[in-house]
Symmetry: C2
Subunit: 391 residues, 2 copies
């Protein structure tokens, strides 16, 4: 592991950074120069000035995504500021390019004020085809994403909120396929109702699941604790997405449930707790790098399907399965936003990569390196966007 840390530093030092902005055209003659710059660059400019939609025909906008962070909630590192967040945002841009051939550019902000972030992103938006928000602390991330979706006419997506929810849904779809259960019959506990957990709850509710309970630092989610929650958890209760429970502890709450989904803290679930769940439970223990319960322990306790955030165990719930194809689909369709139907289409497409005869306990989620995924997600999202547009 020490070796890997050193290797990462050397990798980042080499270029340095991981990105390069290159020209797709050659400039070797005066004619080249006059076409790409003064005076004849005036032609695409005039065309766009006459018809603003031509910006998609004559510039990089249509394939360009901004990866934006204020550095307030970076990986497991917390509030480390914009400069220290930059390697992560560059890494995200590398993933966009590698998995979906999308040009993505990192923008790190020197402010953590939601109003200022909303204004800043609004002002720089004209050159981008989409906005990927990243590693912004809750509840600011929710406030910022909602405001920008109202203001901008390009897709805005906070991956920490929705990426995980899409891949988790894909995993649940396949876990149900494997065990002949119906999604809407599942009784679910979600531990951690921040950016990721709250949106997992919303997406699962959209799929017809009506028995979702919450657990967080404040304890079991309930109206009794109402005053201690931030507004996004209050909304989950008010909207009946997360049900209020009179139970007091996680062991009490998890008993007789079908699914545990953790986006919270390490080692808060033990074997005994899993043994009190319904038979063949699904455990998605995604706290990173140390999950709520380890893969081997969860299996030993009788979990049918175990997913984690780690690449060294099966069924890795990795956002990279969702966001590259998702953005590729909406960019291709020139959709103005990313809605729940598109996220569901993406989840179904990820799940469908695995054929019936391949599906088993340790293979409900495809590999992040499965090249079919981004293409399948892109096509499914594109088709959904076209259906939305024709309504």
């Amino acid at each position: 592991m020490k070796n890997m840390k050193h290797k990462s530093l050397m990798l980042h030092k080499k270029h340095p950074g991981k990105l390069e902005v290159i020209s797709t055209i050659e400039l070797t003659t005066p004619e080249d120069l006059s076409l790409a710059y003064s005076p004849y660059v005036a032609e695409p400019s005039k065309a766009i000035h006459q018809n603003i939609k031509d910006v998609y025909n004559y510039t990089s906008k249509g394939n360009m995504v901004a990866v934006i962070s204020d550095g307030s909630a970076v990986l497991g590192l917390g509030n480390i500021g914009p400069e220290a967040a930059l390697p992560v945002m560059e890494g995200k841009a590398v993933l966009f390019k590698t998995f979906a051939n999308i040009d993505a550019f990192p923008i790190v902000l020197d402010t953590q004020d939601p109003k200022t972030i909303i204004d800043t992103i609004t002002h720089i938006a004209p050159g981008f085809g989409g906005i990927n928000l990243e590693d912004i602390s809750a509840p600011n991330c929710i406030i910022i994403e909602r405001a920008l979706k109202e203001i901008l006419d390009i897709p805005v997506f906070h991956d920490d909120q929705h990426g995980t929810s899409i891949v988790t849904l894909a995993g649940l779809i396949n876990a149900c396929r494997l065990t002949n259960r119906k999604l809407e019959d599942l009784e679910i506990v979600i531990s951690g109702l921040g950016a990721a957990g709250g949106n997992i709850a919303r997406l699962l509710h959209k799929m017809g699941i009506r028995h979702i309970y919450g657990y967080s630092l404040e304890g079991v989610t309930s109206y009794q604790h109402y005053q201690t929650y931030d507004f996004s958890v209050q909304e989950l209760l008010d909207d009946n997405i997360v049900l209020s429970s009179n139970l007091k502890t996680l062991p009490e709450l998890i008993k007789n449930k079908d699914v545990f989904i953790g986006v919270s803290a390490k080692n808060i679930v033990d074997k005994n707790m899993i043994q009190t769940m319904h038979q063949n439970p699904f455990i998605f223990a995604m706290a990173n790098p140390d999950p709520e319960i380890s893969y081997p322990e969860a299996k030993q306790a009788g979990a049918k399907v175990v997913g984690t955030g780690r690449s060294d165990y099966p069924n890795q719930i990795n956002n990279v399965l969702a966001f590259p194809g998702l953005f590729k689909g909406v960019l291709k369709a020139r959709a103005k936003n990313i809605n729940d139907e598109m996220k569901i289409a993406a989840a179904k497409a990820i799940a469908a990569i695995i054929k019936d005869d391949e599906l088993h306990d340790d293979y409900i989620i495809p590999s992040p390196f499965d090249k079919r995924v981004a293409e399948a997600v892109s096509n499914a999202v594109y088709e959904q966007a076209k259906r939305d547009a024709s309504k």
Copy 2:
């Protein structure tokens, strides 16, 4: 020309746009993914969090320039807005990459309010090693550049102001070499005291030239007209950079001068006017695409040296001779700003490319494709920055 217009549209449609953001590393194995992204991207992030200067060692910041415009004064097209400005900014980024291997990224803004622009650029600055302002109308461009130079600790450069002044100075240095004149003896008329003209005056004054007169839409620059000028022209008068003149017309003003520098409007100078100038005058008629007087007419009237903004005549005063090498030098030196001494070093380096035995009327400015220029400018600016830093 119609053919060239069509060619430009096709060129821009092909990719579309002219830029691509690529990864400098390969992602083919789980190990690659873990090094470039989660979990080991945490290492460079932690290093930067501990020592912010490490952002230059582990990210693309040190070689990344933002090319920023509000679309208010684009080429000869005027206020066409951010989307229509994008092809020009992408073109600028192509020039940065082609001539100096600098990664440059276009940012076009949906606001033309100077305060908002200053705030927006301040907020997105942490990921950039330098800011190139472009095609922002006067006097906002001056207000914005000055404010950002105060706020940010990275170089901020409005190319329309300074790029032209550097290359014009290079041209004057060589015109003086050619004719054995001294720079400080020159009596000069500058037509157009906007962003470019004002800074040409300032840089020439810095070189010891004390006889600079101005002409603009308001007429001959003088205290008589004071109340009609914007603040930047008032400053030129107040600082004694541009001398107040009692003369009324351009023909009166140009008489018995050595140099005419035009960054104004087409066809405002005729042959008769040139014939009233001192012997062997220098004419830099840079209005684009149609100069203040054409190259053949100026030569016929007795101009010793004629420079224009056009690539189809000798001595093209092209900004591309300055900004790529200039930025390369300050980025390499990690200079916090671009000062007059660096601009002068750049001008001298451009001039020195042409050897004594090569110098002639039609070759006082090197070709924009002369690969030696960016390297020479970069080295000269780097050395100057190092001298400044050691003070």
